[in-house]
């Protein structure tokens, strides 16, 4: 068993990055995720594993540093919160186009605009539907505990390199700021130059006489080649949808009503379910762990069993669109969620189920 610690979600991401053998972190501070870079600066992994930690001059600089380092086959990551992630979108789209693996953590705060510094889940559309320009998707992981904040770092890199695609950890100020116990994995050494050449033969590692130049770009002015590239990307997203869906079911066996919620809202839904069961209301939870790909099949299956679905999100209702598509709008699906940094209580979540699904 690994080392047991009490940590904030943000600190867990940082510690897990060091332990996962990440080569570089480029970032720019923003509440509520500044502990990521603070922790890395305090731990000084550049003196131990050789991991680069750099505070860039802006979010835009940071994501382009990620692009450059990823192009050379390195394990590289950045993190930010909502307004900062918006600034990074150009770079993220370029990386999706150039098929560069990387990890991006978004510790979401309330928006739109500069919004607030309190937790929110209103970046779901941005994270799962592309975010930047062009036809692309990120693989999106939604941790619901500090343990998952740590675990999803290496999981994210595994997926990023498997599919040559940027991966996003979509969390929020609640999961980022709370402390829970976390079991940390053993240290994985950083890849050697030889390993990088073997793992990522596409990377710009210096041209030997034995192969053609490796070119990393998202630009191709020949529309027919660009279309072929798009077809290739879409094939990749289909493969991701077929192979990488993850979710967790909570008290679904006998459930008559279903919450669908991810991240912090999933935790709140669990408590709402306990409160409901004390009153004889049999509700369960489906928690998407991957938001892209979305667990549509599981929701469709559970929709055969339950009388209605409540989408619980800290937003005006974004994931609800994917839930309704999952059930082809054939059953009652409603939304409840507080906005702008206000967190719904378990009691409110239960009341919403009673009013909108059971009584509605």
């Amino acid at each position: 068993m690994g080392e047991l610690k009490l940590m904030k979600g943000n600190e867990a991401i940082a510690e897990a990055a060091i332990r996962a053998g990440v080569d570089a972190y480029f970032g720019y501070p923003i509440t509520p995720q500044s502990e990521v870079i603070e922790y890395l600066m305090a731990e000084k992994p550049y003196e131990t594993t050789g991991m680069v930690v750099l505070q860039a001059e802006s979010e835009i600089a940071a994501i382009n540093m990620v692009y450059g380092a990823a192009a050379s086959g390195k394990k590289v990551m950045t993190s930010s919160s909502s307004p900062g992630i918006s600034l990074k979108q150009e770079g993220i789209s370029y990386m999706a186009g150039a098929e560069l693996p990387c990890l991006i953590a978004n510790v979401v705060r309330g928006g739109p605009g500069l919004g607030t510094i309190q937790p929110s889940q209103a970046d779901y559309f941005q994270a799962t539907k592309g975010g930047g320009h062009g036809d692309y998707h990120l693989i999106v992981l939604a941790p619901a505990s500090v343990q998952e904040m740590a675990d999803f770092v290496s999981k994210g890199f595994d997926l990023a390199f498997k599919y040559r695609a940027p991966v996003m950890i979509l969390s929020d100020g609640l999961i980022g700021q709370m402390m829970e116990k976390v079991i940390l994995s053993e240290h994985t050494p950083r890849w050697t130059d030889e390993e990088i050449i073997k793992i990522s033969p596409w990377a710009t590692t210096g041209k030997p006489a034995t192969r053609e130049r490796n070119i990393i770009t998202s630009l191709d002015l020949d529309s027919y080649r660009q279309e072929q590239h798009n077809i290739h990307l879409q094939k990749k997203y289909k493969e991701i949808r077929e192979n990488e869906v993850e979710y967790e079911e909570y008290m679904c066996e006998d459930a008559e009503y279903l919450y669908v919620a991810y991240g912090s809202s999933a935790r709140i839904a669990q408590k709402a379910i306990q409160l409901g069961r004390d009153k004889g209301i049999k509700a369960g939870l489906l928690r998407p762990i991957t938001l892209y790909p979305f667990p549509s099949e599981a929701i469709r299956r559970l929709s055969q069993q339950v009388k209605g679905i409540l989408s619980l999100e800290l937003s005006a209702g974004q994931m609800i669109e994917d839930i309704r598509l999952s059930v082809d709008c054939q059953m009652k699906v409603e939304h409840f969620g507080r906005m702008g940094g206000v967190i719904h209580s378990p009691a409110e979540a239960l009341q919403a189920l009673e009013e909108k699904i059971i009584g509605g």
Partner: protein, 183 residues
């Protein structure tokens, strides 16, 4: 067993660190724990609070609206959280600076004048540990041994020489806490 606790007071009173020590103590006795602070502008010069949950089971929501125990260190927090204690629950408060005392009859109320006591002991910094001692007297959710282990885990090495003072403060809290009549 699940114990849901809110600790609330002014920023700088050691509210967050008291919560952290409790959480560490829970880990020492192999419990599940969560520690969720209020963060943001409200902390600057205003009230600070932290929700700590200790449980033998997996913890669901780290955010709550009702608590088994409220540990209250200023008037604003008393006004806000007295009503959030579950019926039959526990409220512990420091009387320093309190003009409107708690009035509920359906909960257990205890008072620990830790600020005064810390002043008398000449150890203002360990004020929060006196409060913690009082809490552990009334509701021994964690064993004292595990609190000391938790302290060692949560304090950086350079503060370990202060652990005996912290221990002394906890013991003093155990002695001076008293029930408020009528509650």
């Amino acid at each position: 067993m699940t114990e849901e606790i809110i600790i609330a007071g002014f920023g700088g009173q050691g509210v967050l660190s008291m919560g952290k020590i409790l959480a560490y103590s829970g880990i020492m006795q192999e419990q599940e724990v969560s520690w969720m602070p209020s963060y943001g502008p409200e902390m600057r010069g205003g009230t600070a609070n932290v929700t700590v949950i200790l449980s033998d089971e997996r913890i669901s929501s780290p955010i709550l609206t009702e608590y088994d125990t409220a540990i209250i260190l200023n008037q604003q927090s008393l006004d806000k959280f007295e009503k959030a204690v579950k019926p039959g629950g526990l409220l512990i408060y420091d009387g320093n600076g309190i003009s409107h005392h708690p009035e509920r009859k359906d909960i257990r109320i205890f008072r620990v004048d830790a600020a005064d006591e810390a002043g008398k002991m000449g150890l203002a910094k360990i004020f929060n540990m006196i409060v913690l001692g009082g809490y552990l007297k009334v509701n021994p959710v964690v064993e004292l041994d595990n609190v000391i282990k938790g302290l060692k885990k949560s304090l950086p090495q350079r503060y370990h020489h202060m652990i005996p003072d912290n221990e002394k403060a906890i013991m003093r809290g155990i002695e001076i806490i008293y029930p408020v009549k009528g509650s």
